[in-house]
């Protein structure tokens, strides 16, 4: 058995999980499991060195004009946010404790007012036209004004409750909300689009799309960008945390082929697992990689990518809760997990199990758990009770996403539904057509596919609000909508968690979507990389700030 890192809370090895079968799978939903990670060795960090990872060519570099994760990953090295998620070996993957980034401290005098005190002496990168001047509250105001007013910002919804910002003094900025929003700080800390940008760069370049416009206050500066070849970053000597970052140069190498990525990692041409998201490796490659690089550090934790099947609950027969429950009970989730992820994964409550702070423990879903449990006989009985004893026919729309695992899951689900008399005709759509129709709930019967891997619960709960485009099941449940909207107004963490748990119980009981299990990621790293731990989300740079090479 590999050594385990201390301080990571609940630890369950993959072998333990496999031995214990479904129970352990369900139990694992309560937290990530960590295997084979050792504690940092030498006590004194050594500056210097280069870190090479599988990089991404973004559509462009303007965080306010794209929702692309490729842009956000690159900017995580170069830009700062007001707040960020805590990173480091002591952070459990799947948890997102909010800490200050540019903000030294913050207060909220009432439910709708937040005041942030900025760090003093923060310098922009020494690049024209900003040329290393000091960051002030004006920059923060400018960023949020631009974020909320610019046309074509796909992430505009993140600041939907923001009424305006106000500069109190050079280092203080006040945010006023239209209504209480308990998720406001989560959005500010999210490594998605809310990095602080410089007015001069926008004015000089027109927007921030070009590499020359990548000017931030982050730990590294953009050194070079060759589309579809590499993006490189060089240490920012004036970073506001003295001495950090330790690593001198970061190189993101952009290559598409998974076999080439495997070969590159096995032969040490890159230092971290090359699979998306967050330095992972594919489970099917794991055995080979472990043999060839036995000293690797690795951490396993559940994925927040949750696949589900949505259905037209505004039309018969899916409007009948008994039909929805029958469809859910017909699915043998363990068999799907076995077929698609070598049996290693977690069952998902309505908020993916990977988000351990707010996902209800799977075995605490109450009645909803029953509808998630494989029971074809009971499913048939429910269908008969709903007047569908002879079964019915419907369609299922999906796109492959280039994933054999998804194709297998779809085919297995169709087989399980056929077992209870529901004939499902699969309609495979090109991704473009799928995204524009089925993903927006414009399917005839069923749709199936992975959902956006958000780090906050709001994104998942919003799928149940009547006017949301991603309400793929056309849920119109006033009680549920009230419960969800109320969570924004609950500022007490414990009470909010209880409310979110109650929401998940309600959703699971109503079986609005058929949820499928998620796999478990394997994040793997060169053993000489110290003081680094992976997590969900695109904050590659944030997690690298205090890492260093011990070689």
């Amino acid at each position: 058995m590999s050594q385990r890192q201390g301080g990571h809370g609940p630890e369950v090895s993959r072998r333990d999980l496999l031995k214990a079968g479904g129970t352990a799978l369900a139990a694992a939903a309560a937290g990530p499991y960590v295997v084979g990670v050792r504690r940092a060795g030498a006590a004194t960090p050594k500056p210097g060195g280069e870190f090479r990872f599988r990089g991404y060519t973004p559509p462009h570099f303007d965080p306010h004009l794209t929702a692309s994760y490729t842009t956000m990953i690159n900017l995580s090295f170069t830009h700062s946010r007001l707040l960020k998620h805590k990173a480091g070996p002591d952070v459990k993957p799947g948890t997102f404790e909010i800490v200050g980034d540019l903000a030294e401290s913050w207060t909220h005098s009432d439910d709708k007012t937040y005041v942030f005190k900025l760090r003093k002496g923060v310098k922009w990168h020494k690049k024209p036209p900003v040329d290393g001047r000091e960051l002030t509250a004006e920059d923060v105001k400018y960023t949020f004004d631009r974020f909320t007013s610019i046309k074509g910002n796909a992430n505009h919804h993140m600041m939907a409750t923001l009424a305006g910002t106000e500069v109190v003094d050079k280092y203080t900025v006040k945010f006023t909300l239209k209504e209480p929003d308990a998720f406001f700080l989560d959005f500010l800390a999210n490594p998605m689009a809310l990095c602080i940008v410089a007015r001069e760069a926008v004015e000089k370049f027109g927007d921030l799309k070009k590499p020359e416009a990548v000017i931030g206050t982050g730990p590294w500066m953009l050194e070079g960008h060759e589309s579809k070849v590499r993006t490189t970053f060089i240490r920012n000597p004036d970073y506001f945390i003295k001495g950090l970052p330790y690593i001198q140069r970061i190189e993101g190498i952009d290559f598409d082929d998974p076999a080439a990525r495997l070969a590159a990692f096995v032969t040490g041409q890159i230092d971290a697992g090359p699979e998306f998201p967050g330095m992972m490796i594919r489970r099917q490659d794991w055995k080979i990689i472990k043999e060839k690089r036995p000293k690797l550090r690795y951490v396993e934790f559940p994925s927040n990518v949750m696949t589900h099947a949505g259905m037209r609950t505004d039309k018969p027969p899916f409007g009948d809760v008994r039909v929805r429950r029958a469809l859910s009970m017909a699915i043998d989730r363990k068999a799907i997990l076995q077929a698609t992820a070598e049996g290693v994964g977690v069952m998902n409550p309505p908020i993916p199990a990977a988000l351990i702070a707010l996902a209800i423990p799977y075995d605490q879903m109450g009645d909803g758990l029953k509808w998630d449990t494989y029971n074809p006989q009971e499913a048939k009985r429910l269908l008969a009770e709903a007047g569908q004893g002879g079964g019915f026919s419907t369609t299922l729309e999906y796109a492959t996403y280039g994933s054999q695992e998804l194709i297998d899951a779809v085919q297995m689900a169709v087989k399980f539904w056929k077992d209870i008399g529901v004939e499902v005709k699969v309609v495979e759509k090109p991704y473009a057509a799928y995204f524009a129709t089925s993903y927006q709930g414009k399917q005839d019967g069923l749709m199936m596919g992975p959902q956006f891997p958000a780090l906050d619960p709001w994104n998942f709960m919003a799928q149940y609000l009547p006017d949301e485009p991603k309400n793929q099941s056309h849920v119109k449940d006033p009680v549920l909508a009230d419960m969800i909207l109320n969570t924004r107004r609950i500022t007490d963490d414990k009470k909010r968690q209880q409310q979110i748990y109650a929401i998940q119980k309600h959703i699971a009981d109503q079986a609005y979507y058929v949820r499928f299990p998620s796999g478990v990621y394997i994040a793997a790293l060169d053993p000489a990389l110290e003081n680094f731990a992976p997590n969900l989300g695109y904050d590659y740079g944030g997690r690298m700030i205090a890492a260093w090479w011990n070689k």
């Binding site: 559509p59 590499r230 082929d257 076999a259 473009a432």
Partner: protein, 314 residues
Amino acid sequence: MLRRYFLKRLLVAIPSLVIASVIVFSLVRLIPGDVVVLMMEENQYADDLEAMRAKLGLNRPIYVQYFDWVGRALVGDLGESLYTRRPVAQELLTRVPVSLELGTTAIFFAILLGVPIGIVSAVRQDTARDYVARGGAILGLSIPGFWLGTLAVVLPAIYFKWSPSIQFTKLTDDPWGHVAQFILPGLLLGIGSAASIMRLTRTQLLEVLRQDYVRTAWSKGMGERMVVLKHSLKNSLIPVVTVLGIQIAQVLSGTVIFESIFGLPGMGRFLFNAITERDYPVIQGINLVVVTTVVGVNLVVDFVYAYLDPRIRF
């Protein structure tokens, strides 16, 4: 006479290009799904759907769009990448050389392997060497290139902890490293073409070797090298050159996969990514360049016919 032949071939190439341009232009518009909606959802290329359609020029009649596109293409303006915002022609300037280097290396290996093995196979017909060569050619034709490429990358990594570099080396940084990075993908990409060329060379040479004038050469006591290489080979090469023209088109399409596997920033990889990102100006631009190249190569092939066989003046 020869000039007239060249002019005629040149004139025949023009309708080919026109038809190809219509196809390239139309196919993009036949892809299912509302591309504009998708692009707005994914990448916010414009403020709203109408602005997006206007940006793409999709709000105008289709014939106007076509003539506008062709008109600009004729002066080297292939539009702007929606993804990178850089001119497509400028992007291609850096990528076409990479694909050409890969394609040239592949054709080099295809000829280097295909012609000599075909000759040996024909001259030593029905011997062990012939059987091995023919068996090898069948394998070369039937094994998909992407599979060979994947094996060539993964197996050495697993068994010898070596794999080709994933870092593209520029000619200016390291000339030898730059050339070396094309050898393995070029060899693998050329194998399929080598097999075709080998089989055709063998067949054609066997036919020529049975001609009366060759028998006469043998009877005059000429050596094997003289009979085969000087008197027979040139006459058997015309169909081989024809196939070579077709093979160049296949090699160009093969670069899509090999550039992805070997991390070469060429035109094929650019096309693959453009399709993934639905970057339609790039897809149209690359396809136009490929089609023009293929038509151009076939024009050259026609000229080579005239050189190989002066009787050809059709």
